[in-house]
Symmetry: C3
Subunit: 265 residues, 3 copies
């Protein structure tokens, strides 16, 4: 099975039509840019982390995105509570193991969440995915020190162990499930110079998984749209500052023709 413009645009169109509610329990750094990316693509973002309300919020949501970028004990408790409700309700969970490998606290929390929540999609950079599968990857803070390609074996192990679709992003994005690997080669070198682009990628996986029950395809479509928006934005940007905004505009304005013209798989 290959990625096609028609399938990608169909998901994008459905998101724009249905405006699925995506519940994010994410880090402080990226909340604003994540919410803006979800709005730009046509989804309806909500951020809520209080133990007293996460289950109620999951109850009206179509996807749950858990991102461990700035953890604390209370937030972890809320993540587990929300994940439990999401499983009961049957909505997809996306896990972004930000900085796994950088500290034991992050690595352990990410592993516990995977075991407990059985995410539909785990999305991380090469270092994070390698850290999760104990393949010895190292993470420098939250930036990757490994190419995504080096992490494909680790991603396969993770998928085998937990059945989650694993999405390793980098110059090439690899999206693995037991049906095989999809590759997306869209994107631009300026994108990692904007904070939270990986977190945005995970949030977009949530929006696509909310409308497409084939989670490998959903994640691949999200990565394609993400990368294409970055390429379109880069044409008008002079650096990472202006890139951010043109990226949001590109998500908002993306047409089927844009996908057709840029898709590189």
């Amino acid at each position: 099975m290959n990625l096609t413009t028609v399938d990608i645009y169909k998901d994008l169109w459905t998101i724009r039509q249905n405006s699925p509610l995506v519940h994010n329990i994410t880090n402080y750094v990226v909340m604003n840019s994540t919410a803006n990316a979800l709005l730009a693509i046509g989804a309806s973002p909500v951020m809520a982390h209080a133990e007293q309300e996460v289950a109620d919020m999951v109850d009206i949501a179509s996807a749950l995105v858990i991102n461990i970028g700035t953890l604390s004990r209370e937030w972890i408790d809320a993540m587990f509570k929300a994940a439990k409700k999401a499983r009961q309700k049957g909505i997809p969970i996306i896990l972004d193991p930000v900085g796994a490998g950088a500290t034991p606290f992050r690595t352990d929390t990410a592993r516990d969440l995977i075991r407990s929540a059985a995410p539909a999609v785990i999305r991380g950079n090469g270092s994070e995915i390698m850290a999760l599968s104990q393949a010895g990857g190292t993470t420098k803070g939250v930036d990757s020190t490994s190419e995504s390609g080096q992490a494909v074996e680790s991603a396969r192990n993770l998928n085998l162990a937990f059945d989650s679709v694993v999405c390793v992003t980098g110059e090439t994005d690899y999206i693995l499930s037991d049906s095989g690997v999809l590759e997306v080669k869209n994107g631009h070198y300026l994108m990692p110079r904007v904070t939270g682009m990986g977190c945005t990628a995970s949030a977009l996986c949530g929006a696509f998984a909310a409308v497409n029950p084939d989670f490998r395809q959903a994640a691949a479509h999200a990565m394609a749209v993400m990368g294409i928006a970055g390429e379109i934005a880069a044409k008008e940007a002079k650096g990472p500052g202006t890139l951010q905004l043109h990226f949001l505009d590109a998500l908002f304005l993306m047409s089927e023709q844009d996908i057709h013209d840029h898709l590189t798989v």
Copy 2:
């Protein structure tokens, strides 16, 4: 009484001259954009939520803006403490009941705050205002599922019960007090595609209420300036990303002529 360019610009000018300190206890998603909007308009924003300092911060502030967008127990305690001090000191409190109706935790917290704090202004979208007055509005996360016009009756009930000015924003903004209803029809369809625009509206109410003791007029002036800035910004923006920045520029640069040319009431 009608809204006039002269009155609106007088408030804006006073904010720019006096640079009132607006204390915000707000949500993580919008802190940055809220602070930037307040700076752009000429006010002096401060964010502080620690129980140990909220009373001291209120003590040097000219308005207090409470926004429940990302709640937790400790923050709620600080909100009550700050509100109590603000009442004692006699500075206006603005309440933004983000997501009221989405979860009982939010609805209940917003109601408790209204009862306890007696806000000068309650600003919300149609769904939130309907949820607060138990008129059966539903909220999809933090985005409105109702037109602002549908919430006018609920707003009237809220005003009758608690004496707060109630500001329902949407395509038309309705600002109600016992002196009647003001309507502002400025704004642009791209604005709801930027996260936190409602929160910015509430923060601007804080800045205007800090310089104008007629809170209905202050809220209406804030909504007019907000909507006009959005319209000016939209002329240069291609989508929601670029809109954000041109919006801040428009707040910063707004002249009496701009208000005269755009005001739609």
Copy 3:
């Protein structure tokens, strides 16, 4: 000793080459813009505040930036823990006493951190530095009510008492150590209209101190690059909104020629 283009660019080049990991425990308002500024300049930012991981994160970092802009008890505990580890490891600590003088809680916390952590650099506006040395400066929220020049005596006292380099920013930036005072006169009047520019200045001090063990020079170089980026950005900006992004672009694109053409000391 004077500031020279060659020395400034050498530090900037080293940051771009080595991409030092800068660990920030900072406030909610500016996390995104701080991370973006560090990425734009070529450093690798990480934000982590959990007591369970701050020591591990410091362990892989090259500088620690502590910013008290939005405090709470748990975060303060983490700041002390991280600072202790940073001293043991011998990496520079930068302290930004945001809002010192506005509330006793902030002033006291900043003083306790200085006593305990012995920061390499303390960077604040005039009011904050005066509040720290009890010279009677007043702070209006987080904005300065004093010229940086008024705070030079206070800065000298702070330096004498704690041996930290003290960097007072304003229209002229004064960077003091026992080797004397450096002055940087770059910058643009629009910069204080963007929230978190001071916090960004502190974070950049972290990046420069990570590659230059002469902390007075590192801080002065950071202020020069910051101010020059602001001046370059202002040429393309219409207001504070667009300034932010052109500022990030300017950090990213800054050449030795740019420094040569703009440096004003």
